[in-house]
Amino acid sequence: MRIGVFVCQCGTNIAATVDTEAVAREARTFADVAYATSYMYTCSEPGQQEIQRAISEHNLQGVVVAACSPRMHEPTFRRAVAKAGLNRYMFEMANIREHVSWIGNDRAPNTRKAVDLVRMAVAKLRFNQPLIALKMPVNKRVLVIGAGIAGIQTALDCAEGDLDVVMVERRPSIGGKMAKLDKTFPTIDCSSCILGPKMVDVSQKENITLYAASEIESINGYVGNFIVQIRKKATYVDWETCTGCGLCMEKCPSAQAPDAFNEGLGATKAINIPFPQAIPRKASIDPLHCRHFTRGKCGVCSKICPVKAINFDMQDTIVTEEVGAIIVATGYDLFDHSIYGEYGAGRYPDVISGLQYERILSASGPSGGHIRRPSDGREPKDIVFIACVGSRDPSVGRPYCSGVCCMYIAKQAILTRDHLPESNSYVFYMDIRAPGKNYDEFVRRAQEEYGVQYIRGRVGKVYPRGNRMVVQGADTLLGVQVEVEADLVVLATGIEASAGAGDLAEKLRISYDQYGFYMESHPKLRPVETNTAGVYLAGACQGPKDIPASVAQGSAAASKVQALFARDTIETNPQVALVNERACIACAKCIQVCPFGAIKWKELRGDILKAEVLPTVCQGCGLCNATCPCKAIQLQHSTDNQILAEVNELCA
């Protein structure tokens, strides 16, 4: 084989701590290396042209590029060698940037390591075989998981492009957290007025199939052809017939069910429609509080229902949907503010979370839009906001900034002043993070126009005095201890990953970071993709985000899916397992271990059984390869001989 080696200098990223000329010189001495050079930026257009020129000039049959991580530029270089007429799998990369030049400053050992890695790549390349991708039809339907603003935006954009959309939401209504908000910063426009029409659009688009009160049971398959099982949870109301008239909710005698939509402020009926604008507008029963389930008798709703939609015997059902791509938009949960014992949330009713205060401000909230404190229903006069509750605090495992709290406190303080002109608002903050368009101006308005008092410092303790709360903290700008008496304390609770995010990630086979936020493929250049082909991210499931960013990412994910579906077929990954039938002893071990059911029996001449890989189902993990006792099944492009060739070079 005639092999060409290209050692990238990556400007000075590599060349500063690796002698790339020496690596290239050394590479020329390796067996089969016909050409080796060092180049300033191999991934640039002239760099790629240089590879193509060398391929034709030196009649190269394989190429090694020693540069950055293959996770970064392997596709780029594969395309480049393919343009020069080589099979794209006659190419190997040696990672001498992330794994060498960036992690050590010593030139001599770095250069030795780079030479070793190049030698290993050359050794592997000698065993490479040309591989041909198969073409697979694409199922042009998309699954959207989560129906908050990001999910709604992405579903509508996909539907707008004539794609069939399957939407799954675990709560009984779509809308997510945005539906609970009263107003949005920095424009103070009404949240439900801008979200509501979009929710209605979702219910009216003929090509959106909505499964509310449903969760993902399992996901199988791969890009272009996923098979998804959806668990429709028992709501004890037949949604096919329910008209959403609300009569059951009116007559239900059990009025002590916690009101999830109102964040636990107040109670709702055991059979309820979560909120007036709910989509779908259907009732569901909370079996923990319904008298039929708790006491075994009642049935008022089933008697009163004009369409006889109540079904106490309803069970969860599983439906199967087939889609070609998946957009995950599962959003976030609020940090549990009761973890800060010193603030007393959970013990004192007048210490509430930011989202609870949002419900109090909302006209559809428990107090009809009048600000009343939860304990005695009095109008508060002094209100204290405490920022960074569950944000930027390593002591509670949340060292990251939630990004939205500074803004929503400013908004809530402004709204408070609008509702109660006589009231005083105080904000205890660490820093103000207001980097969006018109955001900083908005915070400034809160301070200057609305007279909100900003105190820079942490709060040490919140405790009751009479029927008021005392907030003790520090003013670090003045260097004094301060004490503010307040009627209501609002904690700016931060964002954390949604409950169950990890379980869903397992089903989707995507990764998540240490806080449970899903990992994008590249933090800057592939912020919407995951490392699992065909699975995309939108909204706060990927990290804390405000509404504009969630909407932008929702639209971005939709456009990614449109691009994927623009072709009728997709190329499969040819790096799949292959059986050497002469060596196969039909022990069936590979069939047992394959996580994807990609290996089947094949009959030869009537009675001889051999294992056979279905190349379109195989995902290329190589588990079968390691399991096979006679090494008859080999994962192409990572065969035993290829890996052992690398090991051999390493040992040399």
Binding site: I103, D106, T111, R112, S511, M519, V647
Partner: protein, 169 residues
């Protein structure tokens, strides 16, 4: 005679002879990404490690570890996705069983079991990767060069399984 060029073949070979070599087998989806993350963050690490990229730790044949340790390297580090986070659902669970089994055989094979370590590092855990590499490298440095090293059987690698490379479909 000393070679004036510090990177000439002779000098490199000499340096390599003295140096410690560690083989790393990293799953493409988690730990290889974690090592990339560490690089992007410029987390400094010892340079003894040479990483082989594998699709999944489930691809790990214990043979790779044994062969590495018998024929020349001073330590082997295997790292994949955390249990339950495997890109292929269960590959790392099979790997855990196999590598655990291998560990108990190493001393029987005359290899110090401390020369082999397997762990889980996700693609976001650059810092953890730095820590894993540093600690394992230090351990191998304490153990010194692998005394059980045999010379390579020969230049040519014998294809395994009595077969040539699998035919192209």
């Amino acid at each position: 005679m000393t070679d004036p060029n510090p990177y000439s073949s002779a000098a490199l070979a000499e340096a390599a002879e003295q140096g410690i070599k560690i083989a790393g087998f990293l799953c493409n989806w988690c730990s290889y990404g974690g090592a990339d993350t560490a690089g992007v963050c410029r987390f400094k690490q010892p340079t003894d490690l040479r990483i082989v990229r594998i699709p999944c730790t489930g691809r790990m044949d214990p043979l790779f570890v044994a062969k590495s340790l018998i024929y020349g390297v001073d330590g082997v580090l295997v790292s994949g996705c955390h249990p339950k986070d495997c890109h292929y659902a269960v590959g790392n669970l099979y790997a855990r069983r196999r590598l655990e089994m291998l560990k108990s055989f190493l001393s029987f094979m005359g290899i110090d079991a401390r020369r082999f370590h397997y762990t889980w590092v996700s693609a976001s855990e650059g810092q953890r990767w730095q820590q894993v590499v540093t600690e394992f490298s230090e351990q191998i440095h304490r153990l010194g060069a692998n005394p059980g090293v045999r010379k390579q059987p020969g230049e040519n690698l014998k294809p395994v399984g009595g077969q040539k490379e699998a035919p192209i479909p």
